[in-house]
Symmetry: C7
Subunit: 83 residues, 7 copies
């Protein structure tokens, strides 16, 4: 997957339809299936869950996330816990 | 609903006239019926209620919300509490 | 009133000459009669009062409010306290 | 005075040469005579005084204030203390 | 000096080569001789001193200050302590 | 490496495919292999690890980092601990 | 050195290849040799050291610093400690 990335948005493009982890500036995380994004990094997630310290706090379903609240976005398949 | 979303604003467009949940940067939430939005994600809600930790604090009626105070927007029909 | 709103600024336009409630990012509120606004959501209020937790702290008369300090704006006629 | 205001900057224009109160985001206030302003709401005050909780802390004379530090601006003649 | 100011930047222009006081958003002040400025209010000071609560903390010599960190700028000749 | 740098982005360009250290505004660090960047300093890292005070907190795999959350970026080969 | 400065960026231009002190918004300082800068005040430093309260915390080598995290930049040769 990492081999096809020439511009940062290529990673978001190749993550459409897949589960992603979004780290927010307010210390929370949101996970869900990436449905859409734009150049402001506004994104839409399906089956979104809000987490705090790894624990699910709310199921927020289909969700529009403003790009300026995001620190990083990571396809869930490539992430793992630290040992 | 999730199948018709190609760009993030498509979700807001398909939520017009419906109840939505808005998470603000100041830790509060606002719920109400989405009447209008623009590309800055400024939105107008009808029958808006301000909540803190899930409890209604104020009924603010018809309300204009500035986009730069918003973390996420979720159609209420797709959200549910965490178990 | 809610039926004529197609774009967010329509609500501000229909509120000219009327009492509005403005929630600021610094936890305070300002009420007053809406005299003017622009696309940055800079607004001018007449007979403006600054409130904190619902209590009037200062009468500031005719007042220019910068848009980037605003969370939401609500016509006072549509708001009511939570029960 | 309030009757001639069609756009927010009209209030600043009609306040030139008059005493104004400026509320800053850092909880302080500045008063002085408005000499000039621009579309960024950068302003120049003459005989400016910095106040904290209504008490004069410093006389800063002729002063350039950056617009992005301002919450609101009010002609002093229209303001009064809350009873 | 105040009579020639039609636009805010006129004050900075007439302060070139003179001692100014710069109040920063981080509660500190910088004084020095104004050498140059641009429309972002980026400025260069010579013989700059960083102060905290009126006390010199560091001599930083010739210094480039980013405009977005500035609250206000005041020619030192026009400022005086509050009584 | 330092000799070929005429514009700041030249350093990022010459760091592609190499391990870098990214210091975030939220006091955390992220390390990983730089795959891509754009003019907003949005970057994609492969094998990214989130660190706090030098300790790995999470392996986040392939990661998109928003530029506006970054303080500095340093090729890992040129960094060393303070003695 | 101060005599050739007509615009703020002239100081950065004349500091290329020299040691500079950079004060960050997060209360830390970075020193190093200025290699490059752009109009956003993004800069590249060689042999960069991160300091806190004047003490070296980390050697970060060749480093790209985002302009929006900077308060001021000062050629090290012109700075001295307060007595």
């Amino acid at each position: 997957m990492a081999n096809n990335i020439e511009r940062p948005l290529d990673l978001l493009n190749s993550s459409k339809g897949k589960e992603i982890l979004v780290q927010l500036k307010n210390e929370k995380q949101v996970t869900g299936t990436l449905k859409a994004f734009d150049i402001h990094i506004n994104i839409v997630l399906d089956n979104a869950k809000e987490l705090h310290n790894g624990e699910v706090k709310r199921n927020v379903g289909l969700t529009f996330l403003r790009g300026d609240t995001i620190i990083f976005i990571s396809p869930a398949s490539t992430a793992s816990s630290a040992t």
